[in-house]
Amino acid sequence: MEDCLQTISQYAFRSIGFGERLLPRSDYTLCQQFTLIGSGMIWNIYFGTVALLAGFFLATAVALGKASNTRIIRKLSEWFIFLFRGSPLFIQFFFAYFFFLSLKGQYAFFDPFTAAWLGALIVLFLNTSAYTGEIFYGALQSIPKGDTEAADAYGLSGWSRFRRVIWPTMLRLAWPAYTNEAIFLFHSTTLVFFTGFPAWQQRGDALYYANFFADKTFNPFVPYPILAFYFIVLTLVIIALMGRIGRRLNSHLPQDAKRPRARFLPQIIR
């Protein structure tokens, strides 16, 4: 117990560079594995949260762009969505890394872009924007006609019509699918350190450490279940949080009516 507390104080923030520098070398205990893999989760949560929050706004813009009447904006949004949804995220990471690497050779400005915290974040941000954009576009298409007609009847137009009627309805309809997207985004954050992006000074994410232990002990039956445990907890937290927001979005509707619940929608997995 004492040992474990010490291990936690040594390694709890190892993944962001605080605490003991050397990773354990031999006699890997269960406590060390739990602490280090948990420490790696900081990166997964960072990538997922920032990409999701930033991606939300770009996704709204892309969805509106795809529904736009102007040909050029529509085509641009369609190509953006096609580019990021049609190719594997894994390849996108690789391409972005080497792209930034060659830019870095010419302009010193691109120095931080080859590090995972910024470069990978940009890829994830664009990727989730494309997926979410498609979801929002679908929701935009299925807004009940009565809602927009009612907005017209009230004399709302332009921005206030969008802000007060269209946008909330779009979110309400898209929410179950968006929850799904959030879960899968967090899952795909584990890819980051397996592509070109280097884990500088062995500061990696949860899967990086799990893989480290599996390589060292040649026993996959301990670290991967620990990782699975962390991710299942994370998934449950996401479902709970998104469910709360979803309830708030639906709060004006009759409560005993069947609301779209956050469940798995096979059409929209990534």
């Binding site: 031999s26 096609f82 049609g86 594997p88 391409f95 899952h187 599996a214 699975a228 059409q267």
Partner: protein
């Protein structure tokens, strides 16, 4: 040459994995809707766990786990009187005969073995996704159809095979089509399983070559190789999308769904 062959590797993997994971999915869905409680727990647990954990973690896990599991079983079958424990500290030791593949096997056996492990891993992971889709599709078959079957005196098994299975495909197809896309987009992960696939070759060939080691020296071309891969995958998913669209239109013909209804109206 290796680079071009690796595309064949990817396509072979897709061709084998797709039916295999569909089989796994069918089994999983059948287990999940079983009336025997433990069996349905197994089915539902399989779906829930594989979905709740990042698939890449599964890929890394299963490749070692399957390898060790097979060797463990062979070890017990072939060398029953082996004195030492298999797991000694950080080592995993089995007797020589139980090694998979055999130490003196030619190179291609090793490659095939690694490839089949990868196929099996993919099938397990995507089987769970397929099971989820099929499970939903089986429940989407209209209740009236099942009640009619019951009224005709069909048993549960007959109802399942004669009514549910033929009708569920139209409900399953959007999900399965999407799954196919996800499968295509998961193939570059083969690289992590130690198979020499497109990503491996793109990294190898694209890296800076100096005139000392090769006849064709060039700088760091990896960016262009990955751009080529990006385009390859874009084209592949686009073609699949078009094909699936056609298939869907074919299948909805005459079905009691909104899609089928729209088609009927358009025709008249």
């Amino acid at each position: 040459m290796g680079f071009y062959w690796s595309f064949v590797t990817v396509l072979t993997l897709l061709a084998i994995t797709a039916p295999l994971s569909l089989t796994f999915g069918f089994g999983g869905a059948m287990a999940a809707r079983s009336r025997i409680a433990p069996l349905s727990w197994v089915g539902k647990g399989y779906i829930a766990i594989v979905r709740g954990v990042p698939d890449i973690a599964f890929f890394l896990f299963f490749v070692i786990a399957l390898d060790q599991g097979l060797e463990y079983l062979r070890h017990h079958a072939m060398c029953p009187d082996w004195p030492d424990a298999i797991r000694q500290g950080n080592d995993f030791i089995v007797c020589q005969d139980a090694k998979l593949p055999q130490g003196n096997a030619p190179q291609w056996v090793h490659e095939i073995y690694g490839f089949s492990l990868a196929v099996f891993t993919f099938a397990i992971v995507f089987g769970a996704f397929a099971a989820n889709v099929l499970y939903g599709a089986m429940r989407a078959v209209p209740k009236a159809q099942l009640e009619t079957a019951e009224a005709y005196g069909m048993s549960r098994r007959q109802t399942f095979w004669r009514i549910v299975v033929p009708q569920m495909w139209v409900y399953a197809l959007p999900g399965l089509g999407n799954l196919w896309m996800v499968l295509i987009k998961a193939t570059p992960l083969l690289f992590l399983l130690g198979v020499e696939d497109v990503v491996y070759w793109a990294r190898e060939l694209g890296a800076t070559k100096t005139p000392r080691f090769t006849d064709y020296p060039h700088g760091d071309w990896r960016m262009y190789y990955f751009l080529a891969l990006l385009v390859f995958y874009l084209a592949f998913t686009r073609v699949s999308e078009i094909v699936l669209d056609r298939l869907m239109r074919r299948l909805t013909k005459g079905q009691a769904t909104s899609g089928g209804e729209a088609q009927r109206r358009a025709a008249t």
